[in-house]
């Protein structure tokens, strides 16, 4: 394994930061502005993609920017896990940017320049978090992401978004400042470093009780992961425009939360350390509760986006659960689920948005017979939900397969049971939607026979993501390899 010093990670992070002034200056010309977004997205993706071969060979790319104090610098390190996440986020950013053109123009939203600028900033933070070499840098980008998302959540500037924005900040900032920050400083105080090391940074400084408290502070502190009881910001944040919900609240923001937990579990505590104190079980328990409870809540939601949000909360905990298993297969499955869930869930959100653009409908109960009006959208929706439920032939099946293998490997029968139950629950909250969409009598149908698809710019992206979801079943190699590599690295060989 080699360590390569390169400026590429920095470039990848900065591309979408530097494009912001350009966006602001071209705010009068929407077409110019949007082409800049697209170009910057593609450049970002290409830079990240160009690092892929190096990473796949088992190497790392590092870059130190600022030396703050020994062991806690502002530094980047690209490894398999970070690569996996960055690849997902940056590729979906391109698709989302196309989609958001269609969506925002379709609804004639206000403040589009502000919207795209903060969107770009949020993506900067996401990639930065993915490439962080230590907890300090990760925390930095984590906070940047929280703050840059706030204007997106309250984009509508009405009373409802104000309340949601408040809830969003209370949970996200409250936990990160109140829990993560002290925990992080305590780690630094105890060990003198915050670097993510394969075996963790603790070597006997912690007793079991304090380690437990610290771990829980981290797990709950990264509230973006939607771990209960700090999850309720996510449904609230659904007041944001759909591209935000799609990219940020299904992929970037929430996965940064999960990603941070993975980093802390593997890089700060270390697998061996957790195994020796049997702390993985704590995390797994919390995750399991979240999975089951959130799936049950999702059943009761009538607003489509909120149902998706609760589904997201559950799916995120799969990832946490997979990592908390601390077995090779389990971790691989967990990390793979980052990618698989991303493609699946973003399709679903795109569809929800497309429905809203085309018909103005938000509630499932109003969507009876919509399958005939929007056949392409609903077909993609079907594909996406298959992936989330974890049925072949979609990518979601593969990750869930690995997760199940992981539970068997670790001999956790209860967790296996949790996964299977929740898959059933997933099916239970998705299937009624199709049933209502396609199988209804003419009298029940709320839509005419005419096809009313959303604008091209909305439909094309969701078809693409649906196809990718489908394709990943047959060709999961890049993500699977990366996840496998990462798991191998974390488990020490």
């Amino acid at each position: 394994m080699q360590t390569i010093i390169s400026i590429k990670p920095l470039l990848a992070v900065l591309v979408s930061l530097f494009v912001i002034p350009v966006l602001i200056s071209s705010s009068g010309k929407p077409n110019v502005r949007e082409s800049w977004i697209f170009v910057s997205g593609v450049i970002k993706f290409l830079i990240i993609f160009s690092m892929l071969p190096v990473i796949l060979q088992g190497n790392q790319i590092v870059l130190t920017l600022f030396k703050i104090s020994p062991g806690a610098d502002i530094a980047f390190r690209v490894d398999a896990l970070g690569m996996l996440f960055a690849l997902v986020a940056s590729s979906l950013y391109i698709i989302t940017s196309i989609y958001s053109i269609g969506y925002m123009r379709g609804l004639n939203e206000h403040g589009q320049t502000r919207f795209v600028s903060f969107f770009a900033l949020a993506l900067t933070a996401t990639i930065g978090a993915a490439f962080s070499a230590n907890l300090l840098t990760l925390y930095l980008f984590y906070e940047l992401l929280s703050l840059s998302t706030y204007p997106l959540v309250v984009h509508h500037q009405d009373a409802k978004s104000r309340a949601s924005g408040r809830r969003y900040l209370t949970f996200i900032l409250g936990t990160s400042i109140g829990l993560v920050l002290p925990a992080m400083i305590y780690c630094y105080h105890a060990t003198g470093t915050l670097e993510f090391a394969p075996g963790g940074i603790f070597s006997g400084q912690l007793s079991k009780p304090s380690a437990t408290v610290l771990l829980l502070m981290f797990v709950f502190g990264f509230a973006k992961s939607g771990i209960m009881p700090f999850h309720s910001w996510l449904p609230a944040a659904m007041v944001a425009p759909t591209p935000v919900s799609a990219l940020l609240h299904a992929v970037a923001v929430v996965k940064v939360g999960v990603f941070s937990i993975i980093r802390v579990v593997t890089g700060i505590f270390g697998v061996d350390f957790l195994l020796s104190f049997n702390l993985g079980a704590w995390v797994a328990t919390i995750a399991s509760i979240t999975i089951v409870v959130s799936s049950c809540i999702a059943l009761t939601q009538d607003e489509l986006k909120r149902r998706l949000a609760y589904s997201t909360i559950g799916q995120l905990s799969y990832i946490v659960l997979g990592v908390a298993l601390l077995t090779p297969k389990g971790m691989t499955g967990g990390m793979l689920h980052i990618a698989m869930h991303a493609f699946g869930k973003i399709t679903l959100f795109f569809c929800a948005g497309a429905i809203f653009v085309a018909t103005g409908k938000k509630y499932i109960s109003q969507m009876v017979g919509i399958g005939k009006a929007m056949p392409i959208t609903m077909a993609a929706f079907f594909m996406g939900s298959l992936s989330i439920i974890g049925l072949p032939p979609t990518g979601g099946f593969i990750s869930k397969w690995y997760l199940v293998l992981g539970t068997l490997e670790g001999d956790h029968m209860i967790l296996l049971f949790v996964i299977l139950t929740s898959s059933l629950l997933n099916a239970a909250y998705f299937m009624p939607i199709f049933y209502k969409a396609f199988f209804c009598t003419k009298e029940e149908a709320m839509f005419g026979a005419k096809i009313v698809e959303a604008p091209m710019m909305c439909v094309v992206p969701l078809v693409i993501t649906a196809l990718i979801s489908f394709g990943l079943f047959f060709l999961p190699q890049p993500f699977l390899d990366l996840a496998g590599l990462a798991a191998k690295g974390f488990l020490g060989g």
Binding site: F66, H110, G111, L140, E143, L147, G174, I177, G178
Partner: protein, 494 residues
């Protein structure tokens, strides 16, 4: 040149006098004169800092008399840094103030610039001097000028707020003077280093203990440390913006510096932390100050008042950091002098711009401000992030060291207070952002389309440039705080 140390202080004084002249002869000249004086001072301070970093502390003997007979300037890393902060901020503030002085002071601007320069002279002199009594005289210059400037603000309340400030300020300065007298009677000297050497033989003396208590109480009154803070909110919130922007970041910070100087150079850590045993009590007091300031800030309905209480809370940070008595806490406190000066300045620059347009910063007036003054608000937001302590702004890093210091000392209550204070600040500022982000309710009725892009009514360009520059420097200083700690603070402490 060898005379840079004294030039730092003399240049603004000279500018004050010439501006005073110009006020009577050609009033328009006062502004450039004042600006030039402060620019020279900033340059000299920068040179001195470089000299001190590369060649070690500088001693400058006034009138050529060797201390302790004469007065000396003794400039080491700590006060070189503070000098640069003070002169730099004063200069930048003046640069941004031309329009708002014209708006607020109207006639007699010349005299105002003169008194402004005198205020800065006082602060710089306090920082540079190595003589206990000289320190008192310069504190009095600073105080007198602040009394005058506070009273020039709010037409109704300014004078009364200022008069109450006079009473408290005189008590503070007099306590300090008494402390110096007690030291003098025990040692016979007024030079700091000389006093420190003689004091080593008198650690058990009740006179020295009294002197220490008196000096500390005096300085605490001047810096508005809880529970001696009562004068600050009124005095600050009724003063004119120009003055507010310089007094809020600098006055308390210079007083913190004086406290550190007295503790390190004059009395010595051995005396304070080994012979005496009330350091823990002071840390607890600092904890209370932090929480109290935050809670009181929550109750305010006016931006200026809210920030004034945040200042009281920030003072708790630094006092607590110093009195923890370990290297980390000290590092945090000194770094926070720099950071807090910068971020308070940045936040008040934003407030100044808002006041320039709106005349008033009651929360009820702030609706829709992001649309109206986007650049001002951008700077304000960055400053607020720094006060909350969000990386990579500089406020995060000093908080980092302070919390580390608290962990090392085992002062968990202080660490928790810092975290809570961050949360409170987050609530405070996001409440402001929320008000500014959403259109105000009165506009809702008038305007049909609330989302229609409002007209941009920004402050003058000079104010915006300075505000932008300072806000960006928050990030730069934050990213280079490792360098600052390694080059300035750690060499000073060891």
């Amino acid at each position: 040149m060898d005379n840079y140390p004294v030039l730092i202080v003399v240049a603004p004084l000279l500018a004050a006098l010439l501006a005073g002249f110009a006020a009577w002869i050609e009033e328009r000249l006062s502004y450039p004169i004042a600006l030039l004086g402060l620019a020279v001072s900033t340059f000299a301070a920068f040179e001195v800092l470089m000299q001190v970093i590369f060649f070690g502390p500088i001693r400058y003997e006034m009138a050529g008399w060797p201390p302790p007979m004469g007065i000396e300037y003794r400039i080491d890393l700590l006060n070189a840094m503070v000098l640069l902060i003070v002169s730099g901020i004063a200069f930048l503030n003046l640069l941004a103030s031309y329009e708002s002085v014209n708006q607020e002071i109207g006639d007699r601007t010349g005299s105002f610039y003169s008194i402004y320069c005198l205020f800065v002279t006082g602060l710089l002199g306090v920082t540079a001097t190595g003589d206990l009594f000289n320190l008192y005289v310069l504190i009095e210059i600073t105080s007198l000028t602040s009394y005058a400037m506070v009273a020039m603000g709010d037409r109704d309340r300014g004078a009364l707020a200022s008069l109450n400030y006079v009473f408290i300020g005189v008590i503070g300065a007099s306590f300090y003077l008494l402390g110096v007298g007690y030291l003098y009677i025990q040692t016979g000297s007024l030079n700091m280093t000389d006093v420190a050497i003689i004091l080593q033989d008198y650690h058990g003396s009740s006179t020295v203990l009294t002197a220490f208590v008196l000096c500390m109480v005096g300085v605490w009154i001047k810096m508005a440390f809880f529970p001696l803070h009562a004068w600050l909110p009124n005095a600050y919130s009724y003063s004119p913006v120009v003055f507010l922007r310089v007094v809020a970041p600098l006055m308390t910070k210079v007083m913190i510096y004086v406290m550190i100087r007295l503790m390190i150079t004059v009395f010595g850590f051995n005396y304070i932390f080994k012979t005496l045993n009330f350091a823990d009590a002071v840390v607890i007091l600092a904890t209370v100050a932090i929480i109290f300031g935050g809670v009181m800030a929550l109750a305010q309905k006016n931006l200026k008042k809210m920030l004034a209480y945040i200042i009281i809370s920030e003072i708790g940070y630094m006092v607590g950091g110093v009195w923890m008595g370990n290297q980390l806490g000290m590092t945090g406190a000194i770094l926070h002098i720099l950071n807090d000066a910068l971020m308070t300045f940045a936040v008040f620059l934003g407030v100044g711009n808002i006041i320039y347009q709106l005349k008033d910063v009651d929360f009820s007036n702030l609706g829709g401000l992001f649309g109206k003054m986007p650049w001002t608000m951008a700077g304000f937001v960055l400053a607020a992030f720094s006060i909350i302590g969000i990386p990579p702004t500089c406020g995060f890093f000093s908080k980092w060291y302070l919390i580390m210091g608290a962990f090392e000392k085992g002062a968990y209550h202080f660490a928790i207070a810092l975290i809570i204070s961050s949360l409170i600040c987050a609530v405070l500022f996001f409440r402001v952002f929320e008000i500014c982000f959403f259109p105000s309710s009165s506009q809702d009725n008038k305007q049909k389309d609330v989302h229609a892009p409002g007209k941009i009514e920004e402050a003058p360009v000079s104010m915006l440039i300075v505000s932008g520059f300072v806000s960006l420097s928050l990030i730069v200083v934050g990213l280079f705080s490792g360098t600052i700690v390694n080059m300035i603070i750690l060499p000073f402490l060891t």
